[in-house]
């Protein structure tokens, strides 16, 4: 890079507290049902660490990503960048400032690029909007960015249109675009799920490099536990809008506490895993997030549910190492124990 990045600016903590987002079901003006897409989600993204947000479709993970990017406004809870609550920032100037520090890489490598614009346009626009470099230096910086993400020769790539690039190349352009504003936090929403298998590792390695060399804070949103393990330091497992388990990733994968985490682990294709070791699956879907009542949302699919699970929502209590699970049975919180003990067994 021609200018040394301001060390302070590029390292920041993004904290999320009790984040909530509800959508009306059906999308009309007059509707009663609301889906709690994100409910009581809290975590912190730290510089130089990758946090994986793992969940299936309907879990709310993409909504969390969009909330962090301010593409949606939260229904409740707060997002703090370096301790400052961003909800207060209404003006264009502060919104722009936020956007220069938190960026996103999208899932669909083709859809995230405007088909009628060149690669150069995609990278030049953020540079121009945020005034990263003087106008005359834009082309030079575009080439540098392409170089950083491994797209060479940069001059030739810059002139191409998205459809002239392969999926992996397009994704690298997306990453370059996100890096253009010199952000502190990068949110990657399933960046490799639409890429060929052999290309994925390249993108994942790039993410690890960026984390290590530039001290970026990453949120890696995925449904693939294996790739999460490859890049991430910490993991958050989401189900029906809530975090059901979190902690250092090796810990969670070796000793999963929540039944859903165990389910996910057993579902991953792994040739060395014998068929018997797989957990039996119950039926049921993510309708648990629509107008949820009190009680555990995983109840319908849970093999170890007990009585208290049906009328008391389990809490997520973290220990000193940031480890915890939202389950009355495997990780009962003090309140769970109260509820359980207070009732006669039925």
């Amino acid at each position: 890079m021609s200018a040394a990045p301001a060390a302070d600016r590029r390292r920041a903590e993004l904290e999320v507290r009790a984040l909530r987002k509800e959508f009306p079901v059906g999308g009309g003006l007059i509707t009663r049902e609301r889906v709690h897409a994100v409910d009581d989600v809290s975590f912190t993204l730290k510089p130089g660490r990758v946090t994986a947000l793992v969940g299936e479709s309907g879990s709310g993970k993409s909504t969390v990503a969009k909330l962090l990017l301010r593409l949606y406004e939260p229904t409740g809870g707060s997002v703090l960048l370096d301790g400052q609550d961003i909800a207060g920032d209404r003006g264009r100037k502060s919104a722009l400032e936020y956007r220069s520090r938190v960026q996103m890489i999208f899932q669909d490598p083709f859809d995230s690029l405007n088909p009628v614009k060149t690669v150069r346009h995609h990278l030049a626009r953020p540079l121009a909007i945020h005034g990263i470099v003087p106008r005359g230096k834009i082309d030079e910086r575009v080439n540098e960015l392409l170089d950083t993400v491994g797209l060479v020769p940069p001059e030739k790539i810059a002139a191409k249109y998205p459809h002239e690039l392969s999926g992996g190349q397009r994704q690298r352009v997306s990453i370059a675009r996100a890096l253009a504003v010199e952000p502190a936090v990068l949110i990657a929403d399933e960046p490799t799920s639409m890429l060929d298998v052999s290309i994925r590792i390249g993108i994942l390695n790039l993410i690890v490099d960026l984390k290590e060399q530039h001290g970026l804070a990453f949120l890696y949103v995925t449904h693939d536990l294996a790739s999460a393990r490859y890049v991430a330091d910490d993991v958050l497992v989401m189900y029906a809008g809530q975090i059901v388990e979190q902690g250092p990733i090796d810990e969670v994968l070796e000793r999963p506490q929540h039944p859903y985490t165990r389910l996910l682990l057993s579902a991953v294709p792994d040739p060395s895993l014998a068929a018997e070791a797989r957990v039996e699956l119950g039926a049921g879907q993510e309708s648990a997030a629509v107008d949820p009542r009190e009680g555990c949302r995983f109840l319908a699919r849970c093999p170890i549910a007990v009585d208290v699970c049906s009328h008391v929502t389990p809490e997520l209590v973290l220990d000193g190492f940031g480890r915890g699970a939202r389950c009355h049975v495997t990780a009962p919180s003090p309140r769970s124990r109260e509820e359980t003990n207070g009732r006669p067994d039925q």
């Binding site: 969009k66 301010r70 593409l71 999208f106 995230s112 088909p115 009628v116 459809h163």
Partner: protein, 312 residues
């Protein structure tokens, strides 16, 4: 001497065979409109009942109407008014439709509901009574009144279509990415959304052009215009009322009809070219070929330049 550089988009349109043909046809029509009147020695409105309903001859190139007016003169002089009318009405209606449609789609919420309601109202109102009411308010008569009226009547259905397209584009990742990069709403609409809508907007324009020309005659009859000023729609209208088909007087409707059809054909080819040119994926490389191959190229949809990388 400095070489003249045609703007990029024009060069692209000239390079594409479909739009090239379209532009050629349109250029021909415009030329005819410009110089034709010098060759039409007859006054298009002059009527001579003795010469009525005559088939084409050297004296009357396209024959005469039931009133004895020269059809050729009507077509050629009328072209000016028709083209101008069509062009202006289409531009007005499409501009309104685009602005309102895209605004509704991008803003969402109350703005969307409001514009939607407006569109519905305009779609539901019966055209003729609407026009009668409008004509009551407008004192002036003439071309620009017609343009205004046509624009008012024809914007609504296109607005709805453009709104849908804009809505589907709005949710695409690249628009979200532009927003996340800090792009202003203004630039997102004009820089990211609209370039992806060019071919649909152009298609809307052509459709309104065509409808405007045909509707024009009917409106003139209602007293909103002047049936004295020649226009293709007017000539067609009279031919129809006078049962030209039944009488076998093919010249009185074939001539203006062909002129209209040819214009629309030219526009359609231009449209097809715009379709290809505005989508970089369809800018195919041309391979030289014989006449049959080139004719086929004109009619068939183009193949993308390269199969998409993800097709197995």
């Amino acid at each position: 001497m400095k070489r003249l550089h045609a703007p990029g988009w024009l060069r692209l349109l000239l390079a594409n065979p479909k739009s090239r043909l379209g532009l050629g046809i349109l250029a021909f029509i415009v030329l005819l409109t410009a110089i034709g009147p010098f060759f039409a020695s007859k006054d298009p409105n002059a009527f001579n009942l003795l010469a009525a309903r005559q088939a084409p001859s050297w004296h009357h190139l396209f024959g005469t109407t039931d009133q004895g007016s020269d059809v050729f003169a009507q077509v050629v002089v009328g072209a000016r008014r028709s083209l101008l009318l069509g062009f202006a009405a289409a531009t007005l209606a499409t501009t309104v439709a685009t602005i309102l449609g895209v605004l509704a789609a991008y803003s969402g919420g109350l703005v969307d509901e409001g514009i939607n309601a407006l569109i519905n109202i305009f779609l539901v109102l019966p055209t003729i009574p609407l026009l009668v009411v409008i004509s009551g308010f407008l004192k002036a008569r003439g071309l620009w009144t017609m343009v205004l009226v046509l624009g008012l009547v024809l914007w609504a259905f296109e607005a709805r279509i453009l709104r849908s397209q804009a809505m589907s584009l709005r949710n695409r990742d690249f628009v979200q990415a532009a927003k996340a990069a800090g792009e202003s709403t203004h630039r997102i609409i004009f820089g990211e959304l609209m370039p992806n809508m060019i071919s649909r907007i152009a298609a809307a324009w052509v459709l309104v052009f065509y409808i405007a020309l045909l509707t024009d005659a009917g409106l003139e009859f209602l007293g909103l215009g002047s049936l004295q000023k020649p226009a293709w729609g007017v000539t067609l209208y009279w031919a129809q009322t006078n049962s030209a088909v039944l009488q076998g007087e093919w010249w009185s409707f074939i001539a203006p009809g062909a002129a209209l059809a040819l214009t629309v054909l030219g526009l359609t080819f231009l449209l097809a070219g715009i379709d290809e040119v505005s989508n970089p994926r369809l800018r195919t490389e041309r391979v030289g070929g014989g006449l049959a191959h080139r004719l086929t190229e004109l009619i068939l949809p183009s193949r993308p330049a390269r199969p998409r990388a993800e097709a197995s």
